[in-house]
Amino acid sequence: MKSTLTTVSLVALLAAGAALADDDDCTAPRDTWQPREAAMQIAQQNGWTVQDFEIDDGCYEIEGRDSDGREIEVKLDPATLQVVEMEYEDDDERSGIRNPAPAGTAQPPQNGLFGNGAPPKVQVN
């Protein structure tokens, strides 16, 4: 699930013969990485509450909340501990992008497919 822009920039990178990498990837060699504790310290300095810490696309990735309680996802370069990308999970609502109503909170659409108009029963096994 890459954005079109990323794809375009990838093509441009390829054409230029440059390294193949996303703009939100980290490429620091493993032996230059600072320890995980150093990244946790950055989180603490910024007032972030860490709920999940993992490695993604070669970056340290922190999921949690900022000092205002907003949900965040932050990628840090593991060598420099600079912020590579920071996303607010509630950006969608703030920018007016609406997510659909989850099942159970609204009637299914009147598209003629649901014979009795009842919502489907769903489970994941």
């Binding site: 699930m1 890459k2 696309d57 969608d92 992008i97 609406r98 997510n99 659909p100 109503a101 989850p102 099942a103 159970g104 909170t105 609204a106 009637q107 299914p108 659409p109 009147q110 598209n111 003629g112 497919l113 649901f114 014979g115 009795n116 108009g117 009842a118 919502p119 489907p120 029963k121 769903v122 489970q123 994941v124 096994n125």
Partner: protein, 156 residues
């Protein structure tokens, strides 16, 4: 004649839902172990001419990712109203999504096709991952998807 009757029956189902005939159907979608994040899946139906009729289920709640469900997105313009009340969680690799619903009778043996578009973060999008023409005979027959779906079948 059959091709004329089917849309008529469906439009009747649309306008007179109280009178519409329907049957309980279970749609089972099993993902393979593709080794990635949870998949977004859009299940929807097209008519014999290939035109979008409506959606049956959306697995994945964030509309910002819907553009990656390419065929569904093109058909609906990304209109989340199409999946209001029929949206649930995305589905993990190796898991089975089982949907039971009363599906309009008019959809069967009339050239209507059930499609699944699939997308996984940082992996290749797969519009039209599954496409099966709905027939009474085809019930219970598993089909394979192109990239992420190991097995799909509908039972009634």
């Amino acid at each position: 004649m059959k091709s004329l009757l089917a849309p008529l029956a469906l439009s009747t189902a649309l306008t007179l839902p109280g009178l519409a005939m329907a049957r309980p159907v279970t749609l089972s979608t099993t993902l393979n172990n593709y080794g990635g994040d949870r998949a977004y899946l859009a299940l929807y139906v097209t008519d014999p001419s290939g035109a979008y009729v409506g959606s049956l289920w959306m697995a994945g709640g964030k509309s910002k990712y819907y553009e990656h469900l390419g065929d569904w997105y093109r058909a609906t313009g990304g209109d989340t109203g199409q999946v209001n009340g029929i949206t649930g969680a995305s589905v993990g690799a190796g898991r089975t999504l089982e949907i039971t619903l009363d599906l309009a009778d008019a959809l069967f043996d009339a050239g209507y096709t059930l499609h699944i578009d699939a997308a996984v973060e940082d992996m290749r999008d797969s519009p039209n991952e599954v496409a099966v023409v709905l027939t009474t005979e085809g019930a219970g027959t598993p089909v394979r998807g192109r990239r992420y779906v190991a097995r799909f079948q509908y039972d009634m």
